[in-house]
Structures are given as C-alpha cells and as structure tokens.
C-alpha cells in the first residue's frame, strides 16, 4: 500500500512508535533536557540517571512526536542503558551519519557496540526523507543536551 515507505516505516519502528519502551517520567533522575522540533511542534523530555563513573544507569523519555521520533527515542533508551556517557555520544555521531549519509560516505566509527549499531540501522531509511531526519535525531539531541547540562535544545538550530 505504501511500498515506497517500507524502508522508512520498518516493522520495528511501527512497533516502537506504537509501544514506546521506557516511556514516562521516572521518580528520580539526575540529568534532564527538553528537546523541541519546531518544524512539527514536537517536544520531548529525556531523563537520565548517570552514576559516578559516567555510566547511564537509567534513561526514560516522555513527550509527543511522530512515529519516527517516538521509535527513535524508544530505541535509544534501550540501546544506551548501561553504556558510558562517552559511548552514548559516539553512538550519536554514528547515528547522525546513518541518518544523513550514504554508506560509502560515512565517517569511521570504531569500537562501537555492534548490537547497538545494528539496532540503529532500522532508522537508516530516513536518509531518503531529509525532512524527517530531525524527527529521528530529536531524542538524541536531547540526550546529548541533558548530558551537557543544557536544559533545552531545538533541532531547528542544528544542521541535521
């Protein structure tokens, strides 16, 4: 019915979009940020618990968004749980390339958890939909802002 969109709306995405994991504001957390996507009016909150060793012990999100942004946020929470903050940022770098560049143009991303990169690959379909890239990256921008202590971020002002 929507053959052209098979790559964008993969089953995993539809599933996470409809049933986002780790959704809702947790009782406690020590880092948080809000992300705005003014293009569509979406707002998302990311709540992180980072321990003394810089490990992300818990992360959750709430807010509203399209299937892509909800699924991306949901997948992110699954992937980053238990990972060091530095690795979270490295994964975002990788994910950015996945969303915006063809396979042969992507940078070198070494020492990344293969499970994580495999999971992220399902979102690579947005590459063909430049207007939707920010939907996919909103949660990640927000996660990064939270790690850096910025209370609010907006994808409007980012290049991707």
């Amino acid at each position: 019915m929507f053959d052209d969109l098979r790559d964008l709306y993969q089953e995993v995405i539809l599933d996470h979009g409809k049933n986002p994991r780790n959704f809702g504001k947790p009782e406690s957390y020590n880092r948080t940020a809000r992300g705005d996507n003014p293009m569509c009016g979406d707002k998302i909150n990311v709540y992180l618990t980072v321990d003394g060793n810089g490990i992300i012990q818990d992360l959750r999100f709430d807010g509203r968004g399209c299937a892509i942004s909800q699924a991306s946020a949901s997948l992110m929470t699954e992937i980053l749980r238990g990972k060091p903050a530095a690795e979270a940022e490295a994964l975002f770098e990788y994910f950015h390339d996945v969303c915006t560049k063809d396979d042969d143009e992507q940078g070198v991303h070494e020492n990344l958890d293969e499970d994580a990169t495999d999971k992220l690959a399902v979102l690579s379909g947005v590459r063909e939909f430049p207007m939707r890239v920010k939907c996919a990256t909103l949660a990640w921008h927000t996660m990064k802002a939270a790690l850096h202590g910025d209370p609010v971020t907006s994808t409007e002002n980012s290049a991707f």
């Binding site: 929507f2 569509c40 509203r64 968004g65 892509i68």
Partner: protein, 426 residues
Amino acid sequence: MSDTATLSPTSLGNAPYDVERVRQDFPILTRLVHKRKGRPGKPLVYLDNGASAQKPRQVIDAMSHLLENDYANVHRGVHFLSQRSTDLYEGTRDKVAAFLNAPSRENIVFTRNATEAFNLLAQSWGRRFLKAGDAVLISWMEHHANIVPWQLLRDQIGIEIKVVPVLDDGSLDMSAYAQLLTDNVKLVSITHASNVLGTVNPAKRIAQLAHAKGIPVAFDGSQAAVHQPVDVQAIDADFYVFTGHKLYGPTGIGVMYGKMEHLNAMPPWQGGGDMISTVSFAHTTYREAPYRFEAGTPAIVEGIGLGAAIDYVTALGMDAIHAHEQRLLAYATGRLSEIDGVRIIGTAPDKAAIISFTMDGIHPHDIGTLLDSRGVAVRVGRHCAEPLMDRFGVGATARASFAAYNTEAEVDALVDAVLATKSFFG
C-alpha cells in the same frame, strides 16, 4: 511577441466553471512526483495551496517575457526599456488597487510579503502612534506574521498585546472582541481568514466596532484575498495586507493597502534609493506615500508577475473561484467526516476552503509523509500559528487547502490516502 497583452486565462466566458481548462493553465499540475530509477512517479495532487499556490502559465510567461524583451531598472531611467519596465511595474499598482477596490493607486505599498507588511506597519505606524501602555488587539488565530512584529515592538517600546479568543468551532469570539476594545487599544490587527481553521472573520463588523471607538483596523488578507473577492472600502479597512505567492503570483512581492490619512502620516521605514526626494549628509527628505516605503530597487519582475496573476484571477472571477472552492470544501468535509478517528479543526460557517485535521493515534508528520508518498501534498505542522495549536490542544495538524485548479477527483485521492494511512498505522 512584443506585447504582454495576451495574459488572460483560457477564456471561460459565462460558461460554468471548467476546472479542466483552468488546470491546463498550470504546467506543474501534469507533473509526476517521486519519479526515480524505475518508479513511474505519482500524479501530483497539490493541496498545499495555503502555504503557496502554483502559478499559471500567464504569470510564468509574463516574467520570462519581461526578462527577454522589456527589462531594465525602473523609475529613474529615461531610456526605452526603463520606461517600459516602469510602466508595467507601476501598472500593477493600478491592478492591485482595482483588485482590492482601493480608492487610488497611491494606497498600495509593495512589500516582500505579508510578513514584511506587518513589520512595516509595526515599525512605521506603530513607532509613530503607539507608546508604552497602548495596546494592539490581535486574535488567537493569527499567523506568526501578525504576532511576532508586535512582540518585537513590545520589547522595543512597551506596548501591550491583547488577544481575542476563538470559539470551539473556530469562530472569533465577537462578544469578547467587543469587550476587549478598551480605551488603551490603539490598533486592531486581525486576520481576515485563518490559515489553519479557514474561518472568515466578519471584517466589516470588526471594523465598525473598532471605528466606533476611533480605533483603526488592519486586516491580514493573506488567506482571504485568495479565496473570495475583497473590497477594502466596503469593509472600511484602514490597512489590508496580502502576499503575492498565495494569489498564484510570484514570491518576493506582497502588498499593504493603507488609507491615505495613515500612509501620509507614517515616517519612512527603510532608507535608500527611490524613496528619497533629496539627500545631503545633513538632511534628507522623503517622497510621498506609497513610494516613501519602497526603498531600493523594487522586486520589478515579481511586481509585474503579480499584475499578471491579478489579471488571471480577475478573468476567472474571484466569485467563480470562491464558488468552485466551496463545492470542493463541502465535498471534502463530508467525505473526511465519515472517517472514524478523523477530527476536523475549524468548522465555522462560511469558512474558506481550508481543512485542518488530525487522526487518532497518528501524528500529522506521519500523515504528511504517507500522503506525500501517494503524490498528495498537504501541509503538516503548526502552520506558523503555534498559539492556535495550543488553543485546540494539538501539537500540529494536517491541512488540505484548495485552489482554483483543484478537483473532486483530487479530494477523492486525499480521502483514499487518509484511509490508507489509517489502516497502515491501524
């Protein structure tokens, strides 16, 4: 071809509105979108007219023809081409005056777009006539173009912004409006038609109530002027704004109508060539309205293109366009309403042919992408009307907006795509 006389649309005479003939004037409508390696492409179903309308051949040709035959800079040249471009460019001022039924061509100020018109109004009229504590009364259904310029002015000189609420059906709350016309209100600036709800506000009544208290009224006609005839004298508008690219005309050109008593009392806004009378370092004097407000080389080609667009809609008849679009609106409203989970936002009587809607459990952005993959172009998002989105408790909507060239078959394509979207996410 050395003349631009042949700009009338495929003539319709007094025959019933023949949308197929209108469509032939718009080259883009035969386009297949999403055509690539091995994929045949989808016929374009363009329902994003509220954002910008497509252009008829008459407008495209007027611009090309000018550039191939008659182009030069305007106003200051004594040579043939300059004279010719000036005549054509200034000719549009007459056409706009006739289009709005303005008393004279001097009432017509050219701007880049509607947005610039409101910035001009706020900075020139506003700075001269408003002071701290004075209020500008806008409405909850304004486009950002009629919100942010007043906020900038608020930050500069301390005015207040008051907001007329919107009823649940999308109508302006007229009794609240009457009450909000308090003594400190010095200007009413309200949209004639909402780009989200389609609501057409009672402009004449709005002006009457304000004038009874001596308050001038500015209307944002960006959406109204493209869907129905406008008569600024009948409304008794003090200012009336519209934007060329939504009226089947070029980008880069907009219009602010103003009563002469206002225009003549307003200081210049931007400075530069063409708006001055004499310049010395010590003292510069300015030309009269409207020229005082048009600094530098104008959007010449765009002005002339706008003239062709006005010729075009005038020949079709704004009444005929209105009637055609109303038929589409009724049909589309009926069909979309039948779909379970579709919510139409904005159901005021006599609204313009704009339908904003949401679908249960499906985000407008996803609707937009799915519809687009079938060639159906609608706008999704906040439509530069964020406060209104908040008012209706939605983050965003999908919006189908109709133009002179849309058809019932296109409504069917929209409805089919909405149904398919629903089952895709269902």
